[in-house]
Structures are given as structure tokens and as C-alpha cells.
Symmetry: C2
Subunit: 228 residues, 2 copies
DNA sequence: CACGTATATTAGGCATTCCTAAACTTGAGA
DNA sequence: TCTCAAGTTTAGGAATGCCTAATATACGTG
């Protein structure tokens, strides 16, 4: 235990588990077996087994029946993968003409294959960006990461004008839908209407109004409280 | 058998086996278990087992105790990997500042992770090159490949001036040694002296003479018979 | 043509990573 | 407090891909 395995010896699977647990709780609280299984599309028993092995490797702290949380070693390995993923996405958009809805799947495979020097060369070519094409912050090599405070579009007060910061990256179709309406990081939107009982919101982007369902409005994150 | 497995379902291992067999015999003659094992740094029994599985998948033709050769499906999968490998190498040198001795190891991992569209985007960014940084020809998407006739530097007649075409890519140290002496694809050399009994050759590059051992002179391939 | 060596294969095993089915733990509500 | 449903773990098993040891084949040479 507490071997703090050499980073290069981590398998794809292990890297995916660490990344999933980090995503489920960037703050470091324990993640449940069920949530990890759901995110990785695996069965709960598979996760149970792997969590046990990873805690023996010193990458996780596991309290049976209570959840798993990243150790320092685990967190740093996870952040290394997140950095890779987001830089690869940025690189593909900037230099290889990828659209923002296509990069996630490609990065998901490449992140396990690139070397650290290659990642740093890509970062340099990009001018060391701080966010990826979806607005997600890119961790530094030392593992520091600046999460900007943000409010879901669903929670913005009627009448306010805010800047879009960040959008969940995973569903390509959703990303195309958002891009077609100008709902991209850096885009400025005014909230014009909100229907009660969790109904849709109406936003105005570049003078055009769009009605956005609640589910979608919850994954579009905006600069908080930036009043017009 | 003869499933002609969907390309995306091939594992890293399978892709490496096919590439190895192609390298051992681009012409399609059977490759021996021993040679495959040696190239992949695996034990012969491991190769025996895998060869059996791959022939059941329709990627190889295997005659026990005689060797394995690629079927059409196997050859085309192998060439797809070779195309990826060489385009990745070219891309890393052209756009990410890699030196030619460092790209092989990086490409060896990336070739298993890139998608076909990414490979084609890289090819387009490069202007669809016909050779990689070591002078190795890049197969087309349809699997056609133009191997240029060439003569080993070790076999060039004394007094001839030839252009270097191609150098074995695998040993980084050897590549650095060659580059330091101008022995790179496109370089023009004149053979000044050859010692008998397999002794070293002396070549002149850009007015400077270098003595090159036989082993090295055998993996430097030159445009054949191009007299000054 | 028999023999021995080089080469190849089969036998048996191990690590990884996944699965389903069965057993166990937790905690909320009757 | 007891019960039970949701969630978790253990048990047992399969596929991949590697290994070593033992066995089988092929073929050049005496």
C-alpha cells in the first residue's frame, strides 16, 4: 500500500476511475460506488473490486459501504488526466479544425496515449490557455486549478445579462444545439423570461430570443451576478 | 472465422501483431513465430497463441510450424496502422517541434488511440506527404504504398554520389548520430572509400568526410545508382 | 535414413478487468 | 425498534494476453 505507483504504470482503466471520482467530487468528498459505476457505465461490483485495489495502491481512501475518496496521489493523477484531456480538446479545435462537439470523444482516447512532453508542447503551441473549448478550466502541471464561480442559466434572475462561462462537454448533440444558438463560452445572454414550476427559460442572444428547457439550462454555467 | 472484424474492435495487441508481421514481410510471405516474437519482445508461445486466434479471426493465414502471413483483411489493417504511425511522426516533427529521433516512441502509442478522421486531418495539415521524417513511404488510405527502390549505403559503389532516401527509425541514438553528420533523407553523399572484409565506408557530406561502420551503413538507404 | 538442434506448439498458470448472482449493510419510515 | 429497499460487497466466472515448462515437428548432417 501507499506505493504511489509511478504515473506511467497506471492502466487506462485506473486512469478512468480516478478521473471519474475526481469529476464526482472535485472537493474530495467520498464518491459512491453507484455513482462511479453509473459514470463509467460499469456494474457496481466491478467498481467495488477496483476501488479496493486502488485503495491498496494508495490512490484512494475507501470506507466500505461509505464511499471512496482520492488520496493526494490519486488526486494528482486525476488532475494530470484532466489537464491532458482539456489541452487535447483545445489543441484539436485550435489547430486541427475540430468542432467543439467532436473533441470529447477523441480526447477521451488520446489522453491515455500522450506523453507529458507532448502535452506540454501542445500547451505551449496554444499559449498555455486557462480553459478548454467548453470553458472548463485546465489544471496546471502542479495540480492547481481555478474553478470560476458560476451560476446555472436556470438560476439567473429574469432581466439579468450574463456571460456564458462553461458548458457540459459530453453530449455532442447538445453542444451542436447550443452552438447554433450562440450559447457558447464568452457569449452574452439576457434572461427574458422564466416559466414557473421548473418551466423553460427564455434568453436573448444577439437580439434573438430562444426558449431553453430546464435540463439544458442547468448545464449552461454563467458568470455569476454580472448585471448589465 | 473470416469475420473481418470491424477495425475499431482490434486491440492494441492485435494491431501490433499485424504491424509486426507486415514489417517482417511487406511482400506477404509467411513470417516465423520466432521473428515475430523477437520483434515484439514476447515469448514464442505467446505468439503461437495469438497467431492462432488471429487466423481464426481471418486476419492471418497460419500453417502450423511453417509461419503466418497476412490475409487481405490483415494486410489492410496493418497498412492502416503504418499510415497512422508515419503520419503521426510527420505531424509531430512539422507542427510540434519534435526531433526525428523522438517521434517513433510517441507514434507507437498514439497510433492506437487516434481516429481515422484525426489522421486525415493531420494528413491534410501536412499537405498529404508521401514519406515520413525517416523517409519511410506513407501508405494511402486505400492501402497502396510506393516503396522506392534503394541501395544500402554499404553497397554503394566507391566514387558514386547518391541521395539518402530512408533510415531505420527505431533507435533514437543512431538517429541523432546520423543527423549530426548530415545523413538524413534528402542529404547528398559521395562514397569515398570502402575497407575490405566488411569494413567501414568513408562518405563525404557537404565537404566533410565521415567513417561509417558497416552495421550503420546497412540501414541507411540511398537512391539507387544516381551517379554524379 | 537416423539423429539432434532449432523452432513451434501445447499445457498450465497468472494478472487484469470485466460480468452476474447471492449475501450483506445501512438507514429511513412504520 | 423493526423491517425492507436501496446500495454495497463477496463469490464465482469469462476473455484477453502474457508467462514458463514440457512436448512435438522439421530439417540439415553424418
Amino acid at each position: 500500500m501507499n506505493v504511489t505507483a509511478h504515473p506511467d504504470s497506471l492502466t487506462r482503466s485506473v486512469e478512468d476511475y480516478l478521473k471519474a471520482i475526481y469529476r464526482l467530487s472535485p472537493e474530495g468528498r467520498p464518491a459512491s460506488t453507484r455513482d462511479i459505476a453509473h459514470l463509467l457505465e460499469l456494474s457496481p461490483p466491478s467498481v467495488s473490486g477496483m476501488v479496493k485495489r486502488l485503495s491498496e495502491l494508495g490512490l484512494l481512501e475507501h470506507i466500505p459501504y461509505r464511499g471512496a475518496q482520492l488520496t493526494e496521489a490519486g488526486r494528482s493523477a486525476a488532475l494530470r488526466m484532466v489537464r491532458r484531456h482539456r489541452l487535447i480538446e483545445a489543441y484539436l479545435v485550435e489547430f486541427l479544425g475540430y468542432s467543439w462537439d467532436a473533441v470529447h470523444a477523441e480526447a477521451e482516447r488520446l489522453e491515455h496515449a500522450v506523453s507529458d512532453p507532448l502535452v506540454e508542447r501542445m500547451a505551449a503551441a496554444l499559449g498555455h490557455p486557462s480553459v478548454d473549448p467548453h470553458g472548463d478550466p485546465i489544471p496546471a502541471t502542479d495540480g492547481s486549478i481555478h474553478e470560476l464561480a458560476s451560476t446555472a442559466l436556470a438560476d439567473v434572475a429574469t432581466g439579468r445579462t450574463v456571460e456564458i462561462r462553461r458548458v457540459d462537454e459530453r453530449d455532442p448533440e447538445r453542444l451542436r444545439y447550443l452552438a447554433a444558438r450562440g450559447l457558447v463560452p464568452g457569449g452574452v445572454v439576457t434572461l427574458r423570461d422564466r416559466q414557473p414550476f421548473g418551466g423553460p427559460v427564455t434568453v436573448e442572444v444577439a437580439g434573438v430570443r430562444h426558449v431553453i428547457g430546464t435540463e439544458l439550462a442547468r448545464v449552461v454555467l454563467c458568470g455569476s451576478e454580472e448585471t448589465q
